[in-house]
């Protein structure tokens, strides 16, 4: 097993990387209670990107976990969740902007706090996306890994604190070359009043036919067709 790349993304940090076809990105919540906001793009044609509505309705689910696939707007699989020890990843919460973070955690400027300053998911993702010539218009709904939000019969949300145990791990298999942009910041609905973002460990490795991929292809007939579309609509 060759690890091409390993990185500990500190809480509050942002990064981006290309997951080549056949590679797996593993994300590990080493301390527990982490949240990672994730956006995915076709690495070669970045107008093709993660489409959460297509992802959710195609699999009749509002939560994501092992056996689920992340669809692009072009009906293809950008990533398959081949391993997941967490069990529930959130599609509702999105990211906070600077004003929302200041409202929630109070003032937290670089001038006083240096690199412990309060970051926000929107700016972090925008900065990282800007490095790939992507802009505000390219940031629709994001996936929040390691976070659980449930919906009651009236539609109201409940955030489940400490959902992700220390060592929780999720693996994303890329069946095509994919640009992943991510940031490790508290989930927007997390009621914890202290700004305390948790780190996440990233590693990238080759795995052309990983255990768990069959489940992703067969858990729903839609998923198999979305895999077939990778060849049909190749760009």
């Amino acid at each position: 097993m060759t690890h091409h790349y390993e990185e500990t993304l500190p809480g509050g940090g942002h990064t981006s990387l290309v997951i080549k076809k056949g590679q797996i990105l593993r994300l590990t919540d080493s301390d527990g209670g982490a949240n990672v906001s994730l956006m995915l793009f076709n690495a070669h044609e970045k107008s093709e990107r993660l489409n959460l509505p297509d992802t959710l309705k195609g699999q009749h689910t509002a939560r994501l976990g092992a056996g689920h696939c992340l669809y692009s707007d072009m009906g293809r699989v950008l990533a398959a969740i081949v391993t997941d020890t967490c069990g529930w990843h959130d599609s509702f919460g999105g990211v906070l902007n600077a004003a929302e973070v200041a409202e929630k955690y109070g003032k937290g400027r670089y001038q006083e706090l240096r690199n412990g300053f309060h970051r926000n998911g929107m700016d972090n993702l925008l900065v990282e996306m800007g490095k790939w010539n992507l802009m505000l218009e390219d940031l629709p709904m994001v996936l929040n890994l390691f976070s659980k939000v449930t919906v009651d019969e009236k539609g109201r949300f409940t955030f489940h604190s400490q959902h992700s145990a220390p060592g929780s791990m999720v693996e994303l298999y890329a069946p095509m070359d994919v640009l992943a942009v991510l940031t490790a910041l508290p989930h927007p609905m997390d009621p914890e009043p202290e700004y305390s973002p948790r780190p996440v460990e990233l590693s990238l490795r080759e795995a052309s036919d990983p255990q768990g991929l069959t489940l992703c292809k067969t858990s729903r007939p839609e998923n198999l067709r979305a895999f077939q579309n990778i060849e049909r609509f190749a760009v």
Partner: protein, 211 residues
């Protein structure tokens, strides 16, 4: 579900337009004006996106809207927030009671995933959106983000399942929104023939605007 009726009279509208089944429509509503979307024959999904007219890169943000109102569905009182955190419109009347925020718009490509490869050449909402955007010139593919499906019912279960149900809307149901700034409204009057969201019979919808 709480239903809220409006006392606005169609005869007083400054603008009325009927969107035939399966067609797009792009228009503007000014700050303070009220927009009514009217389900003429019932169970028609009206796929809709909103942009700030002065700067269309500011647009409806599904996740922020849901989070700020702490609810997965839209109805009277819901404020539609932008990706910059500003209110774009507020729902002020609603005789349907629930509108979908998660299902998105049908597309040729997603139809091949949801149904079968041979549905690829059927008409779709995203084709409508693209056609209207590219003719207008201010919007393009990247602007087609997660939309609202007015009159559609897509409940989330406590276990995180997503179900598609119909029967909430009916002929004559409407939703009204007050514009909090000048907005571009982009609509695809959904042509979907592969699922029962509109009873396999796409029908016309009407838009009305009052000062």
């Amino acid at each position: 579900m709480t239903l809220t009726t409006s006392d606005k009279q169609p005869a007083d509208a400054v603008y009325r337009h009927i969107i035939p089944a399966g067609e797009p429509f792009l228009f503007e509503v000014k700050k303070g004006q009220t927009l009514r979307l009217h389900d003429l024959e019932g169970n028609q999904a009206v796929d809709t996106l909103f942009y700030r007219a002065a700067s269309p890169r500011e647009r409806y943000d599904a996740q922020r809207t849901l989070r700020r109102q702490n609810n997965a569905y839209l109805t009277s009182g819901s404020v539609l927030y932008s990706n910059l955190g500003n209110p774009l419109l507020t729902i002020v009347a609603d005789t349907c009671g629930r509108h979908d925020t998660l299902g998105g718009a049908c597309a040729q490509e997603s139809n091949t995933v949801r149904y079968s490869a041979d549905t690829r050449y059927m008409h779709s909402c995203r084709d409508n959106f693209l056609c209207a955007c590219l003719h207008d010139g201010r919007l393009n593919k990247r602007d087609i983000t997660a939309n609202i499906n007015f009159f559609m019912n897509v409940p989330v279960t406590p276990e995180g399942g997503l179900t598609f149900e119909d029967g909430i809307s009916a002929a004559g149901k409407y939703v009204e929104l007050r514009a909090e700034c000048d907005v571009i409204v982009l609509i695809s009057n959904c042509p979907q023939l592969n699922n029962p969201c509109n009873g396999w019979n796409p029908t016309a919808a009407e838009v009305l605007v009052w000062n």
